[in-house]
């Protein structure tokens, strides 16, 4: 066996993850609470935080706002491809390092596709301010899946041949059945998963529309999961077609009703991207990569996060016309009668 890196676990080890779940109260109880309560109860200094969604789709934006307001310390962020969630968390570290700090990132991609690169990623990485471990989208998804399956690792092909296997904790073995090399990836079991979904009931059963991304895997792998939802609906409605439920209630610890909870990113059936807001936010950070001032960015955080009580207050700042336009754009993608 070829060992590329010394093994260590970020988040929970497989045995710890098992133990945490065995000891957890998994009963069907009312898990509704405020975002304030959810974040303060379930996000701790030093946590490995699994981030749901994909790039700027269904990212847990509202949860990130609340984390920033409360402050966070020494987090490890784990995700496949993300946009606004790490951008907001990382940007907060740029303007308030005393209040918000990321220690490490395990990721496949951090940028915004059509909306551009991530200046925060460049800033933090090029200045050596954080640890990171590169993986691919499938690698990170499979690592969460291994965590969700209660396995210490999962075999995959795709770190083979390139440098990802050399800069990560991948181990290559000769397949005992075929003799050919195969990669083994260590499971990821975050301390807490952050997930935004279209609909949930009070127990935490979640319906996801469009891509499931890796949300179910993150929720099942994590010791705790915070869910925000566009619609909080009855248990009877959620379970009227049980196969629509993508995350079952025992995997969820907090359910918070937050309309526009992934905004200015997109959420299928609810709203399309507000590209202007995404680009506008990135433009505040971009000059900093080349040594520019943090003032504009600081002002943004003061106005939109530190200066408000809740995510609802942030959404309030958008013109209703714009919110409706983004809802209309999504209705064009995905036409439905109300």
């Amino acid at each position: 066996m070829e060992t590329n890196a010394k093994m260590f676990w970020t988040g929970l080890s497989p045995d710890e993850a098992r133990e945490a779940l065995v000891n957890k109260d998994k009963s069907k109880k009312d898990k509704r609470m405020t975002l304030k309560e959810a974040v303060s109860r379930f996000v701790k200094p030093g946590d490995n935080v699994g981030i749901g969604g994909f790039v700027d789709i269904r990212q847990p934006v509202a949860i990130c706002h609340e984390m920033i307001r409360q402050g966070f310390k020494d987090l490890t962020l784990s995700f496949q491809s993300a946009g606004m969630a790490p951008e907001l968390l990382g940007g907060a570290m740029l303007v308030r390092p005393d209040h918000c700090s990321i220690k490490r990132i395990e990721l496949a991609y951090w940028a915004h596709e059509a909306f551009g690169l991530s200046p925060t990623w460049r800033y933090l990485a090029e200045r050596g301010m954080i640890e990171f471990e590169d993986w691919s989208n499938y690698n990170m998804s499979a690592r969460f899946k291994a965590g969700a399956m209660g396995l210490p690792f999962i075999p995959t092909r795709s770190p083979l041949g390139g440098d990802i296997k050399n800069t990560s904790r991948t181990k290559i073995i000769d397949c005992p059945f075929t003799g050919r090399p195969i990669a083994l990836l260590p499971a990821s079991n975050p301390n807490v998963g952050l997930i935004h979904v279209q609909a949930a009931d009070m127990y935490g059963n979640c319906i996801i529309r469009g891509t499931d991304a890796t949300c179910a895997e993150i929720a099942m792998a994590s010791a705790h999961t915070i869910v925000t939802c566009e619609q909080l609906v009855s248990h009877e409605l959620i379970t009227s077609n049980p196969k629509d439920v993508m995350i079952p209630f025992p995997a969820v610890d907090a359910v918070v009703h937050v309309p526009f909870g992934a905004y200015p990113g997109a959420c299928r059936r609810h709203y399309y991207f507000n590209g202007d807001a995404i680009r506008g936010f990135l433009a505040l950070i971009a000059p900093m990569v080349k040594g520019g001032s943090a003032d504009a960015l600081k002002a943004w955080y003061d106005e939109n996060i530190f200066g408000v009580e809740s995510f609802e207050d942030y959404i309030e700042k958008f013109p209703t016309k714009k919110l409706l336009a983004d809802q209309l754009a999504e209705n064009y993608n995905c036409e439905r009668l109300a």
């Binding site: 590169d134 050399n166 050919r180 090399p181 891509t211």
Partner: protein, 266 residues
């Protein structure tokens, strides 16, 4: 068909990409220009093309136009299958994707791609000169699609003997059976489309080879802008410039908002 006289570098890439795609095949589409090229192919010669997007959509008709993310809502409406990332990549690892269509910032003569970092490796991996977004799904497509099509802007500094980081492995070091020996699947890089021409890989050496020059380029001009020695196919031809109709389709139908195809004259 009238030849366009004001097409851009990105537009000829898109047209070339579309033409390389074969009808009725399954193509795993990376974000950016590959999405534009795939939609153009569907609207022209390949109505039976089956796009797969890594966020989970298999075979969507794309009736609502160009997605601006591989997880865009537009990719799900009317799709034949939608799970999440694991679902899409598992079926690719199984062998369902005939083509993978990916981009990168740096490429070598064996079609290995870098989209991770620029700088010394491994010394400056943790504090790179330039940090790029990272693999996304590119390394997965590279390892598991049957054949891959690469799009790279053609610049001497980005066509290098040695990459800063191999994100998406191609023909590795070009030795026979290198991919198989590494445990990978698929035949590896099939075509490279750049701002200067179209390339394939010579059968035996697996080295990049000029197949078609874009209008205004010659074998010599392309070599001059490449950081390694290119092979030259015995029958290099000039790739026909886009037609006005193709350019119209790109500008008016496929990417009317310029999400990926920027409105910069060539």
């Amino acid at each position: 068909m009238t030849v366009s006289t004001d097409y851009t570098a990105q537009e000829i890439i898109v047209v070339a990409g579309a033409k390389i795609l074969e009808d009725n095949k399954i193509v795993f589409v990376g974000t950016g220009l590959p999405m534009v090229a795939s939609l153009l192919a569907i609207l022209t010669h390949a109505p039976g093309l089956i796009p797969v997007f890594e966020a989970g959509a298999v075979g969507p008709p794309l009736k609502r136009g160009l997605p601006i993310s591989v997880g865009d809502s537009k990719t799900f409406t009317g799709a034949s299958y939608v799970k999440g990332l694991n679902g899409a990549f598992e079926l690719t690892q199984r062998g369902f994707a005939d083509f993978g269509f990916i981009g990168g910032a740096e490429v070598d003569m064996y079609g290995n791609l870098n989209s991770t970092m620029m700088g010394d490796f491994p010394e400056s991996y943790s504090k790179p000169k330039v940090r790029l977004p990272g693999s996304g799904g590119a390394s997965d497509m590279a390892a598991s699609c049957d054949r891959t099509i690469l799009i790279v802007p053609h610049d001497k500094k980005k066509f290098n003997e040695k990459l800063s980081y191999v994100t998406s492995p191609g023909h590795l070091d070009g030795t026979p059976g290198a991919r198989q020996k590494a445990g990978m699947q698929g035949k590896g890089p099939y075509r490279v489309i750049t701002t200067r021409g179209i390339f394939d890989f010579e059968e035996k050496t697996k080295r990049m080879r000029i197949l078609h020059t874009f209008p205004g380029e010659t074998v010599e001009s392309i070599q001059a802008n490449t950081g390694f020695e290119l092979l030259v196919a015995p029958d290099v031809t000039q790739f026909a410039p886009p037609t006005t109709e193709e350019v119209r389709l790109i500008r008016e139908v496929v990417d009317p908002n310029g999400a990926f195809v920027k409105r910069v004259a060539k």
